[in-house]
């Protein structure tokens, strides 16, 4: 980021702190900034040199909004958001269920005039404004790990996965749990960077059809839309399906690549009553004929959904999944059996702890390629990279970087998977890259893929003990997490009903 960009970024972030004192959460702040920024940019596009057709109807456009003050501003802002939330297309996604949250109209005025108005955002390069927005999202995630943080996959993980998968200009890439759009952005940028010379058809494909996002939660979909938009992706229509539950229905098209980090979180499974008072299953167990098992476990369901999303001949996926998908029995075992049979599940990357915004998460990346139907098991060899044992990161003191994945990417051999060589051997038991044949996997109880072989140096050893301040950092995060959760509980309880 050049100097100007980081100055702007800092000012944007400083205003977030000011408004936090007014009771506005960082996430709500980002939403409000998103509305204002979008209005300003839409206006800029109607001026020279762009002279594009007007998208935002006149009574609600930027010049009208920025001309008001005080109570008139407050009222107008509310009307603007209400009106625009009814629109279709990109406008509709950005303003879906939009509500004004800034209590003090003077501060709203400051945001409009001091922060947004002075700059021409459209002329800023994609790097600049995209980076500012990403930075805003990332700081918001850090500040609220169990809230906004759960929608934000750490960028080094994303970039490493994209570098392994190596998307190209002919791919169609889907993220059915897009969050803030990180995977798709990274994939798009990778294609553009590595394929500078494209013919006009390819360029059009990359601009309009390369990526496709699906995000259930309106707030997050909004951020995703803005993030993509600021990065110059999609024209008038954004390749984003907002407010839609990916798991609810079988998809009607397939893709050559899927990159995703399905939401971590508890499953809900409840009996409930229909209107006649008869028992029925909660919709949380999706009923789909393309699924192998019926379960309320979100991660299992996303694996099944992603399997369907992939093109049968050569569809490839990289998916972030928590440990339980690897070892849970019952439905989990059935799922793994089906997956290993119908796909070549070739790589498992065990991620270290302390990298996700949600504390205590133990996750992995599973890479698999879908194959045409066959009686034979498609997984011949599973390669495992252990980036977890004896490795320790924290969000603030020792954050993970793309460089920490260098060895993994070297071992992965993108584009030349058949040339892989293990670094583990009997003579080198500390090697982190190792393969298991199908015969070995099949013998494991419950087809458990929770594979580890490195000695976990325990606390008695002391040589791998993190520094006191790193541990203190982790404890603070956990205590903050506990505090957030209990505050939410308190709010439920203190709303005294009649």
């Amino acid at each position: 980021m050049n100097v100007t960009a980081s100055q702007i970024g800092n000012r944007v972030w400083n205003m977030a702190h000011v408004l936090k004192d007014d009771g506005l959460s960082y996430l709500a702040y980002v939403e409000q900034i998103t509305y204002l920024l979008f209005l300003k940019m839409s206006h800029e596009l109607t001026q020279k040199p762009y002279k594009r057709p007007v998208v935002v109807p006149a009574p609600y456009d930027w010049p009208t909004l920025s001309s008001k003050r005080g109570a008139a501003l407050e009222k107008h802002y509310q009307e603007t958001l209400e009106n625009l939330s009814q629109k279709k297309g990109l406008l509709g996604i950005i303003f879906l269920k939009a509500k004004p949250e800034i209590q003090d109209p003077a501060k709203l005025h400051r945001l409009i005039h001091d922060l947004i108005e002075p700059h021409t955002w459209v002329s800023m390069t994609v790097d600049v404004k995209g980076a500012i927005y990403e930075e805003l999202l990332s700081r918001t995630a850090k500040e609220s790990p169990s809230g906004a943080g759960q929608y934000f996959t750490p960028r080094p993980v994303i970039d490493a996965m994209v570098a392994a998968m190596q998307p190209g200009p002919d791919d169609t890439i889907c993220d059915p749990a897009a969050g803030t759009g990180g995977f798709l952005l990274s994939a798009h940028d990778y294609v553009v960077k590595h394929h500078p010379k494209l013919n006009p058809d390819q360029m059009r494909h990359v601009k309009d059809d390369l990526i496709f996002a699906c995000e259930l939660v309106p707030t997050t979909a909004r951020l995703c839309a803005m993030n993509l938009h600021l990065h110059g992706i999609g024209g008038k229509s954004l390749p984003l399906l907002a407010g839609h539950d990916s798991l609810a229905t079988k998809p009607d098209r397939t893709f050559s690549m899927v990159l995703a980090n399905p939401p971590f979180g508890k499953k809900g499974s409840m009996m409930s009553l229909d209107d006649e008072g008869n028992l029925e299953r909660e919709q949380q167990i999706p009923v789909r004929d393309d699924f192998w098992i019926g379960t309320s476990n979100k991660q299992f369901n996303f694996v099944q959904h992603i399997h369907t999303l992939l093109k049968t001949d050569g569809g490839r996926a990289g998916v972030v999944l928590p440990d339980n998908v690897l070892f849970e029995g019952g439905g989990g075992e059935t799922l793994r059996r089906h997956l290993l049979k119908s796909c070549d599940v070739h790589t498992l990357l065990r991620l270290p702890t302390g990298i996700f915004y949600k504390p205590g998460v133990k996750a992995n990346v599973l890479f698999f390629d879908k194959k045409p139907g066959s009686a034979k098991v498609q997984t011949k060899k599973l390669w495992v990279y252990d980036l977890r044992t004896n490795l320790h990161f924290t969000l603030k003191q020792k954050p993970i970087t793309l460089g920490d994945f260098d060895d993994f990417l070297a071992c992965y051999r993108p584009g030349a998977l058949h040339k892989r060589k293990p670094t583990w051997s009997k003579d080198n038991p500390d090697g982190r890259w190792r393969s298991y044949d199908w015969a070995e996997l099949e013998k494991r109880d419950k087809l458990d893929l929770d594979l580890t072989w490195l000695k976990d140096e325990s606390i008695e050893d002391g040589s791998n003990l993190p520094e006191p301040d790193e541990l203190a950092d982790e404890m603070i995060q956990d205590l903050q997490n506990a505090l957030e959760l209990l505050t939410e509980v308190a709010q439920v309880v203190t709303k005294r009903p009649v």
């Binding site: 009996m271 504390p359 606390i459 404890m475 997490n481 506990a482 209990l486 439920v492 009903p497």
Partner: protein, 516 residues
């Protein structure tokens, strides 16, 4: 149930809203059909749900087990499972039928009653306490009879209100669980934190080194190597003095080369040891202790009272715990301690079962050393609290485990303890380290208590939320809801029809008081 309920709720015996242990229907399943099997161990307490349900072919479980259908509520009746709150809604079930332990009552909710409403009522620990007082049966086989549950009254709202309340209740309980898990992680990290602090202390990373400070303040300082020289000289002089006194006592003149009998304490083997910060040096325990004494190698005879006897179990976490000691008589004490009577400030260090625990004898305490431990008395110029820190650090633990012997129980020999390598800083730095560690440890102690208290509070909070729920206070009332009394009437009417005209047994039904 002393809290007034919302006015459109009713309070009725469970028997009215659920059929407890209904007779089995004829099962039309093929004998090879796989059905869900729920043993007692598959049902986790309270809201923790079902874990690892089994799957068995019907023919294996058709006899000898309790059978139920999807949506039934399973309630453990036998001790201690009942008290632990093993109550769960049987869902989802493969093929809609399940089998399980005979120690479950099966509650089949009547139409309009969500099974989750019943199960969550029984997650309340106060309800289960009441149930416990009604257990019948032989000792060890105590069970809560069906009749108790049938008569137990439960507050019931309309169907739609049940449906509104349950997800909010579950979400709230899940949040509390997550908070508790976070606290558990904090507890684990507190242990690691303590170890990390001790490690940093003994590696010169906790406080600024004396060397650094001296440089900044432009002054000299005494490095540990010089301190060691002073200590060794003093040690030799003390020995010489004691020898002369002993000869004088026996009225003998010391022989010509008596001084050469002095055994210079051996420095540690530093070949495998890491480098130390500036101004530090490696020393062995014998070099810096005026006394390194093994215990008397015989178990002391206990007495009902007298002088506390410290056994290895009394030394934990860097402290000597005087709460649960045995005792010895004065005579025993004198005999057992004749080599070197323990003094306040001395360190007791265990050699075995378990090794490596150490503690300082508190002021004013007279203690007798038990088996498998040694006494270390720090020389002048060595802070006993610093020595304690060094003995308890993760690096020391590592060293001890690598140098212990024994195939069964690992232990240290006396000479291993004498040769323990201690990283020694200058005296002023020892003082700073001790102060800082004590400060941190006291905060650590506070935090441990805080975490334990709040974890307990999480449990209490769950129960409080449950009570709150069944008082109708969790979710606002919706005036459009039908009154629960109408739901109840429908249920009764349906039962009358099904049971062919026989009126349901008249039970005491407590109507809700009109809230003011």
């Amino acid at each position: 149930m002393s809290n007034p309920l919302p006015k459109n709720w009713v309070e009725v015996p469970i028997g009215e809203i659920a059929h407890i242990n209904p007779p089995l229907d004829r099962c039309l399943l093929d004998e090879n059909t796989e059905i869900t099997f729920l043993g007692m161990s598959s049902v986790l307490p309270e809201h923790r749900g079902i874990s690892e349900p089994g799957l068995r072919p019907y023919r294996e479980v058709s006899k000898g087990y309790t059978r139920f259908v999807e949506g039934d509520v399973l309630v453990a009746k036998i001790t201690p499972c009942m008290e632990n709150g093993k109550v769960v809604v049987a869902a989802p079930l493969t093929n809609t039928i399940g089998c399980g332990s005979t120690e479950f009552h099966v509650f089949r909710p009547r139409p309009g009653i969500d099974p989750g409403w019943i199960s969550r009522f029984l997650w309340r620990s106060d309800i289960r306490h009441l149930a416990k007082t009604h257990m019948t049966g032989a000792v060890g086989q105590q069970r809560v009879p069906t009749a108790f549950f049938e008569d137990l009254t439960i507050p019931v709202p309309s169907t739609s209100e049940q449906r509104r309340i349950i997800p909010i209740l579950d979400d709230t309980l899940a949040k509390i669980d997550e908070a508790e898990e976070a606290l558990e992680r904090v507890r684990c990290n507190l242990d690691r934190y303590r170890a990390s602090v001790l490690k940093a202390a003994c590696e010169g990373r906790l406080v600024p080194t004396e060397a650094e400070l001296a440089r900044q303040e432009n002054r000299d300082y005494e490095p540990a190597s010089e301190l060691l020289k002073r200590i060794l000289i003093a040690r030799r002089e003390a020995w010489e003095k004691a020898q002369l006194e002993a000869y004088a006592k026996k009225d003998k003149t010391p022989p010509k080369d008596w001084k050469s009998r002095y055994l210079e304490p051996q420095p540690p083997d530093t070949s495998d040891l890491p480098d130390l910060p500036e101004g530090w040096c490696w020393v062995s325990a014998t070099q810096i202790c005026a006394q390194v004494v093994d215990c008397h190698n015989k178990t002391a005879p206990y007495s009902g009272q007298g002088i506390p006897l410290i056994r290895t179990t009394n030394i934990r976490g860097g402290k000597i715990d005087l709460q649960q000691t045995k005792f010895v008589t004065e005579t025993t004490y004198n005999h057992w301690s004749r080599r070197c009577p323990p003094e306040p400030g001395d360190i007791l260090f265990t050699r075995e079962a378990p090794m490596g625990e150490a503690g300082i004898i508190p002021d004013g305490a007279r203690l007798c050393m038990g088996q498998r431990m040694m006494l270390l008395r720090a020389s002048e110029g060595i802070l006993n609290h610093y020595l304690l820190i060094a003995l308890g650090s993760p690096d020391m633990m590592n060293h001890i485990f690598q140098n212990s012997i024994g195939t069964g129980v690992k232990h240290l020999r006396v000479r291993d303890v004498e040769g323990l390598p201690i990283p020694l800083p200058p005296f002023a730095e020892q003082q700073e380290i001790v102060l800082e560690v004590e400060r941190i440890i006291s905060v650590h102690g506070e935090l441990e208590r805080f975490v334990a208290v709040n974890r307990q509070r999480c449990h209490t909070l769950c129960q409080s939320i449950l009570k709150h729920t069944f008082s109708g206070k969790l979710v606002p009332q919706d005036p459009a809801d039908e009154p629960a009394s109408e739901l109840l009437e429908r249920i009764r009417a349906q039962r009358r029809e099904l049971e062919g005209g026989t009126t349901p047994r008249k039970r005491a039904v407590r109507r809700t008081k009109k809230s003011s």
